[in-house]
Amino acid sequence: MLAWTVYSSFIGAAVVALMPSKSIRAVRATALLTATIGLLLAFAGIVQHTPGQLATITKLNWIPQLGISFHFAADGISLTLVLLTGIAAVCGILFSWNIEHRVKEFFAFYLALIGGVYGVFISFDLFLLFVFYEIAIVPKYFLIAIWGSTRREYGAMKLALYSFIGSAMVLVGIISAYVVAGGKTFDLIELAQFPFPEAFQFWAFPLVFIGFAILAGLWPFHTWAPTGHVAAPTAASMLLAGVVMKLGAYGALRVAMTLFPLGLAAWRDVIALLAVIGIVYGATVALVQRDFKFVIGYSSVSHMGFVLLGLMTLSQIGLSGAVLQMFSHGIIAGLLFGVVGRMVYERAHTRELALLQGMNLSKAIPFAAVTFIIGGVASMGLPGFSGFIAELQVLIGAWQTFPGFAILAGVGILIGVAYTLRAIIKGFFSENEIVSTAHSEPLAPISMPERLGAAILIVTTLVVGIYPRLLLDIISPSWNSELMQHLVKGGAQ
């Protein structure tokens, strides 16, 4: 049934593409309906899921000559991310309710992107996974290039090329792994049982891992992220930060780390180091940005660093923390981008923190201010929100293996508090009341879809923050499955 998340998204995209471009309301409704169906299917998938099980959804021979099968399956990790995709998709549509320019095409590309993302999270055949991974590249380009803002064509092209170069690296790795394993199958579960020679793993692991991790914002390959996020329209930056960056982290975990354990052991420290640099660097750079969206763009790099660091701990707690952090950051970054891109930028028509400071937006659009503060404290890692429990687990896991890195990551959290507070103050609160009155034009009130979208995201981060076992109970047992267990064992050594 979970496979229908993929099918329904593509069907929705096709239906939207074939609708007459005048019927804007019908297009929006169809898009929202499609995304909601996806979300409901994701819920249903979680309810039906038996923790610890890797359940096959569909397995068909696709191209038997090459050993390619149409293999959908899901475990707790997949389901968590499918749920995230569902939530982000619905909220992204709510936050782009006001789009008037080429509406039909916007939602067609949007739904195609969502379909690709769902596909990656439930594919267990490397070829199939790669197909969905690349399907997600093209809509991103158009979403940014057509509906984006600052330097949109540059940002879009940069993102597309970075993604494509990453996937080229992955492709080399996948094909070589297939050939080295005897050229019989692309099935992930079957390939994972093949003992790849150490010399091969030594170069194949970094190739595939970094190929994926480019999209996860791994330092120093992160530079697409801030420009891409800033250029993108609100819904696209919510998806970029919310889901697309998770594609990278997920691929790195599911493919590179699962297939090449020896390569992982060899490169683990290096990647952990890059992750920590990413955490501190992203946070530090976010501290000095002038553009509101750049602050969040760099904060994404920093938070994704926690995901990668968590993956490198190779302990149950650290890995679970990493997956939870993917979920949590997806929700929180979506919320922050929603506030900045939709609520603030489309009313104030600027994202310059210096200019926003003069507008005293906390008075003009208090809802946006409150939402951003909630998102901000969630992002800082305040207890009660999902970010806290996720980053805490990563730090505990890291402390056991890389105490030095854990301390540095902790410093990163502190800087995180600083840049978030700076953004809140500069973005919404004016020191000078006189300047604010100069801005006479009243801003449009926050619309219903925006409130709804923000509410969904806030409730999600709160619920997961207060009762994290909702997700951890399905994530943690996943590490005991035959496919993933060597990761945890490797950490115990």
Binding site: I63, Q65, E105, E134, A145, A168, G183
Partner: protein, 493 residues
């Protein structure tokens, strides 16, 4: 010598049908169509062509005879019939795309040349004798030279034809020199016999001269760098349907015959192009051509302003990828080569079809495509499919083609991954290629049009373009449709 003409005739029925259709087209045009408007005339002649080609295709579909004329001058087996069917299908598509353009009054002559070129390709495919190969090649080439010059109003068409003719003549000289040396070394004309005589003689320096000459000759034919100089000018100057025919049909036939000469005639002289495994033979020579082609083709395409020229350089690059399929020197690689060139041919005819439509409203510059998505939404969607397929984005046919070729190339010497260097180069360059294909799509989808008039497309052309786009999508999603056929034909043949 006991010679059965009835048998020869029944084996050559498809060729006969095509030649008769060619004369019929000329006759019908002279007698009945002179006074009709150009577009109707072209449509009717294209229909005649289609009927002739379809009956030849159908005949090859039902009759499964195999035939081998003395000394392999004319060979019929399932593989040759499959390739001929593909070539005839490409001819039909080209004929219908011609409806859109209006470059000549001499339509009867145009169609007879088109069909004679197809007949040349069919004889080429069936030839396994160096003399027959050369004759068929000349029939094909001479028809194409004239077709290139067909637009008498355009100086560029004349320039293109002259350039194509001079380079083609030179390449014919190289080919003939190479083939005559081979005859000198072996005293045989038939490829199988040549291979048998060459066994053990591959250290003969004269043989290497012959080998290099032959490869150079065909290098010109398939426009592999560094013998590609004629291609951009010929592609740009020719009437667009002719360009698509050169890029599609002629390429399929040339690659097929090149593979056949090397696989059958030079069997045993493969050598090895692997990293650190160099053994002299024909694979190292081709490896160099392939590497140069993907580099030069892709890098030069980046800076092009004319879409036809851009597609010409992209054709050079795609020639490089196809050469990878030949490099494998085995049946598997051969299957991947046929799949690759066929899907490439379908895609490129479609792309040139769109160019032919746009040309009617200005030219073939990138800027002439600006805002096409609002002037011709269906055509633009098809162009998106073609461009993304050329870039190798799944789930389109171009992606699976590349994937298949790369997989077979790496499989060569599985343990050492000998050709990995070339595959990495090809994949990296394919990442580069996304940039210029996106430039075309950017004009179509992102940039606003200066000219807002709706583009009108001749119905047959529109139909063919849409059919090609659907074929590209379907062959990408279900590659088995074609791969299965190719492999079946190979095991039978």
């Amino acid at each position: 010598m006991n010679f059965d003409y009835a048998q020869l005739f029944s084996a050559a029925i498809p060729e006969t049908v095509v030649v008769i259709t060619a004369f019929l087209a000329l006759l019908v045009d002279f007698i009945f169509l002179r006074n009709l408007p150009a577009r109707t005339r072209t449509s009717l002649l294209a229909t005649v062509t289609a009927v002739g080609c379809l009956s030849a295709i159908a005949w090859m579909g039902v009759s499964h005879s195999t035939y081998r004329l003395d000394d392999a001058i004319f060979v019929v087996n399932p593989m040759t019939q499959l390739v001929k069917q593909i070539i005839l299908a490409l001819t039909i598509f080209t004929a219908f795309i011609s409806v859109q353009t209006n470059f000549t009054r001499h339509l009867g002559e145009y169609f007879i040349l088109l069909l004679l070129a197809s007949a040349g390709m069919m004889f080429l495919v069936s030839a396994e004798n160096i003399l027959a190969i050369f004759l068929a090649l000349e029939l094909l080439s001479l028809s194409l030279y004239v077709l290139t010059a067909f637009n008498k109003q355009s100086v560029f068409s004349a320039e293109a034809a002259l350039k194509y003719f001079l380079f083609g003549g030179m390449s014919a000289a190289f080919t003939l020199f190479g083939l005559s040396l081979i005859y000198g070394v072996t005293g045989e004309m038939n490829l199988t016999a040549i291979a048998a005589k060459l066994a053990g003689k591959t250290t003969d320096p004269l043989f290497y001269v012959a080998l290099v000459m032959t490869v150079i000759g065909f290098g010109f034919k398939v426009a592999a760098a560094p013998f590609h100089m004629w291609a951009p000018d010929a592609y740009q100057g020719s009437p667009t349907p002719v360009t698509s025919f050169i890029a599609a049909g002629s390429k399929v036939a040339s690659f097929f015959i090149l593979a056949k000469i090397l696989f059958t005639g030079f069997a045993g002289a493969e050598g090895d192009a692997g990293w650190h495994h160099y053994i002299s033979g024909w694979t190292p020579v081709l490896a160099i051509l392939a590497a140069l082609s993907v580099i030069i083709g892709n890098l030069a395409a980046i800076s092009q302003k004319s879409v036809k020229r851009l597609l010409a350089y992209s054709a050079i690059a795609h020639g490089g990828y196809a050469l990878l399929g030949i490099l494998t020197a085995d049946q598997k690689g051969f299957a991947s080569l046929i799949y690759y060139v066929t899907t490439y041919a379908l895609t490129v005819i479609g792309a040139f079809g769109v160019v032919a439509v746009v040309e009617n409203y200005g030219g073939d510059k990138l800027s002439d495509f600006a805002g096409l998505s609002r002037r011709a939404p269906i055509l633009s969607a098809c162009m998106m499919v073609f461009m993304l397929s050329l870039a190798g984005i799944p789930p389109l046919a171009g992606f699976f083609g590349k994937f298949y070729v790369f997989t077979s190339a790496i499989q060569l010497g599985a343990k050492s991954l000998g050709l990995l260097w070339l595959v990495i180069l090809a994949i990296a360059m394919s990442a580069v290629s996304l940039y210029y294909y996106l430039q075309v799509l950017k004009q179509i989808y992102v940039v606003d049009a200066s000219d807002k008039t709706t583009v009108s497309v001749a119905l047959p052309t529109q139909f063919v373009i849409v059919a090609l786009a659907i074929a590209v999508v379907v062959l990408g999603c279900v590659p088995n449709l074609l791969v299965g056929k190719i492999l079946a034909a190979l095991s039978l043949g």
